[in-house]
């Protein structure tokens, strides 16, 4: 079995938001987050395992070997919730893969290419659409800081998307900020590149 260094005591601490609630860092079992605990397994290998229900159980068992380490990062770590989350990750990855395959299919390829060409011109013709797409990217990578300070709703209003999405609150629900994947200090197996937008997750379109 792989020897995994335990996270040191100076792990990132929960942050307090302006909303008065303590927002705990959570372990979200994305392939990149899991790969931080499973030595010698790359995120894309884990993504492939998660696509199969049976192999998902295997991933679950291997993650649970590191329960103690994960709890240091996420004291509320719940093994039962982990099962549900792994199912959700697996399902979402499968959906994304189907979307990618459909776009590459001979029947759809031409249509989709022309669709993307039009979307690329939206910055001038429909800037609000480009704004929404860029906001999704922000939500995936940087929004949590804004959420903690109560500014995510304000940002939604500022960029003008709340009118389309039925108000700032609804906009926040449709494009929710996501918690960051744990970045574990200490080197060793934890010393990996940041999980944001890794170069080769999944199949390129």
């Amino acid at each position: 079995m792989a020897v995994v260094r335990r996270a040191p005591a100076n792990m990132p601490q929960p942050e307090k938001g302006a909303r008065g609630t303590e927002v705990q860092r959570r372990f979200v079992p994305t392939p990149e987050a899991i790969s931080q605990y499973l030595e010698n397994m790359k995120a894309e290998e884990i993504a492939q395992l998660l696509a199969s229900v049976e192999r998902r159980r295997e991933v679950y068992d291997r993650i649970m070997e590191h329960e103690e380490d994960i709890r240091e990062f996420d004291p509320d770590f719940d093994p039962e919730l982990l099962r549900e989350q792994l199912d959700l990750v697996g399902e979402t990855l499968q959906q994304k893969k189907r979307f990618q395959e459909e776009m590459k299919s001979p029947e759809k390829k031409g249509l989709m290419r022309r669709a993307w060409e039009r979307v690329k011109g939206f910055a001038k013709r429909h800037p609000i659409v480009s704004t929404l797409l860029v906001l999704a990217l922000a939500a995936s990578g940087v929004a949590v800081g804004f959420y903690l300070t109560g500014n995510w709703e304000l940002l939604m209003t500022r960029v003008g998307v709340e009118k389309i999405l039925g108000g700032a609150k609804a906009a926040e629900e449709l494009i929710p900020p996501t918690l960051p994947t744990p970045q574990l200090p200490g080197g060793g197996v934890f010393e990996i590149p940041p999980p944001t937008s890794p170069p080769d997750l999944g199949t390129p379109l």
Binding site: V28, T30, Q85, L88, V89, T92, Q95, K96, R98, F99, Q100, E102, M103, K108, L111, R113, R114, A115, W116, R118, V119, K120, F122, A123, R125, P127, I128, V129, S130, T131, L132, L133, V134, L135, A136, L137, A138, A139, S140, G141, V142, G145, F146, N151, L155, V159, I164, L165, E173, L174, I175, P176, T178, T196, S197, P199, L201, G202, P204, L205
Partner: protein, 146 residues
Amino acid sequence: MCYDDVMSSPVLHLRPEERKIFNSFTDTLKDGWKVEEENRTYEDTAEHRQMRLSLLRVRDPKLLTFLTEAQKEKSPAALAELVHATDLAGVAESDLAELFFALGPATLSMIIEKLLREAKKDEDLADIAALTEIRHSLLSSMMSIS
């Protein structure tokens, strides 16, 4: 009607409520457009939306630069400015697909409805046709998972 000049996709995939908006257009604007009912549905949830965003991965240098710069911004005004300054011209199709997948069909439907309400010419409908094609594929990929 210059649909084929604008985009050779022959179809607008519209939901019933969107079709009502389309039907209210002038005959000139409607001329030449084939409308098919979008009868695929997907029950999206907060958990699914959150997970799609958690699994969003881009490779385009422009988008990666946006992420890096955005992490430095501390105020909504500064981040809003950065969001507005980031356009998608030249971004790879694979990254556009990632962004639309993360956004999901429900949000895309809101955009489609807004653009339909503002549509005045064939060019506008060609843009909407592109979005309905993307939504059609999204719904197809999402609903086929049991």
